[in-house]
Symmetry: C2
Subunit: 236 residues, 2 copies
């Protein structure tokens, strides 16, 4: 099924020996599933044409569930969620990470999130790129790595941006924002768009288009496209 | 963060006591990640307003990886994939499934897929709804449950449809197709659109719109929208 899920050969704008190779995703309980698997499936597809490794980094090596832990968030007593198996823990992380993906989700507000924020703070200086999705940017902001930088986040919970990152230049009307080597996106599905934009930038326009085509996804390629900012009456 | 990921209250077109409650997703090695997590994250969000249970059903209870097992599919020797933990196995499945979601992926062509196909065949008669994404429709076709029905599938590997389902009325130009209680979608990201269409139909238009808004996803709401059929020159 090579015709199904494999992008075309790479004609990259980045010299081959400088391409990122070691990717990581930072998970915690009650992460938002699509924040993670939108970006990762674009990268799964890319990894079949490009040598890439993925580390799934959790608080411990225990499986990590998407289920909200705060009972008030689950008023109908649903038993609905998915559990992912980490490959590494934050106390024994992979060496030489090039790219770290940080999702959002209800769990960002849980009391035990501090070690996750600390991991971002200590890991960021050696990264080539940091990509956040949704309220993942709150964690990056709290870690201090967004201070003085432009960034965006989930639009429905925009009020939290000021609380989590008082020194960040938050951009309310944006599908994604790039500042230096940090790519932040709006909520949930915007993670697909920021990742495809990242692939176009780093690996080349055609490679990014191919990955989108393999995903049968019609990407938003304009970083300022954002009807959700209007839904929530957010203005600059 | 109730404002972030929670849809509004439900005004459903389906009587409350007939709404589907027990969802299952059928996984196998080398499934396509977004085929699963596009639909499931829409349903994760819905489950916070509606009593719903999810069973993750695998060949066994072992973690299931997205990694292609055929080395020819991974020519760059990447080590890139995600492992999901099943809650049930096909030999000890959950009782009373209402909805079964079947993803596609490279694994559909692996030799050990037969028990997965058999599970679809034996489970379908008691389901309220079957939803397939991408080449998940090949598995449903091989199980015989699509015989004489209209269905669609991944567009890049369209040639496989005739092989896997010679008695199916395959629709090449469609984002998704509904025939009776079977909803089949096109490749990968189309799983998000078919799931939101399913939610609109079963739980009501506003509920479906809300879930899309929480996901910050701009859905394709026209089932005949399909630029990917044109990419691959597919005609009726």
């Amino acid at each position: 099924m090579a015709d199904e899920h494999t992008p075309q050969a790479i004609n990259s704008p980045t010299p081959a020996n400088q391409l990122p190779m070691n990717y990581g995703v930072l998970l915690y309980p009650a992460f938002q599933a699509l924040d993670v698997f939108g970006p990762l499936d674009a990268l799964n597809i890319l990894s079949l044409k490009q040598t890439m490794n993925l580390s799934i980094i959790g608080p411990t090596l225990d499986p990590i569930s998407t289920k909200p832990r705060n009972p008030s968030l689950n008023p109908k007593n649903s038993n609905f969620g998915e559990s992912i198996l980490p490959t590494h823990s934050i106390t024994n992380p992979p060496p030489n990470l090039d790219v770290l993906v940080v999702p959002g989700g209800y769990g960002v507000r849980d009391d035990d999130i501090t070690p996750i924020i600390d991991f971002i703070r200590t890991t960021y200086p050696s990264l080539k790129y940091l990509i956040t999705v949704c309220t993942g940017s709150w964690l990056a902001a709290k870690a201090g790595v967004l201070d003085g930088k432009k960034a965006t986040s989930n639009k429905a919970s925009w009020a939290g941006t000021k609380v989590w990152g008082p020194n960040v230049h938050w951009v309310p009307h944006a599908r994604w924002v790039v500042d230096g080597n940090i790519w932040t996106s709006s909520g949930v599905a915007a993670g697909i768009d920021v990742t495809l934009a990242f692939i176009r930038e780093v690996y080349g326009e055609e490679v990014g288009k191919d990955v989108g085509r393999v995903m049968e996804y019609d990407p938003h390629t304009d970083a300022s496209w954002d009807p959700f900012a209007e839904v929530y009456n957010l203005t600059e």
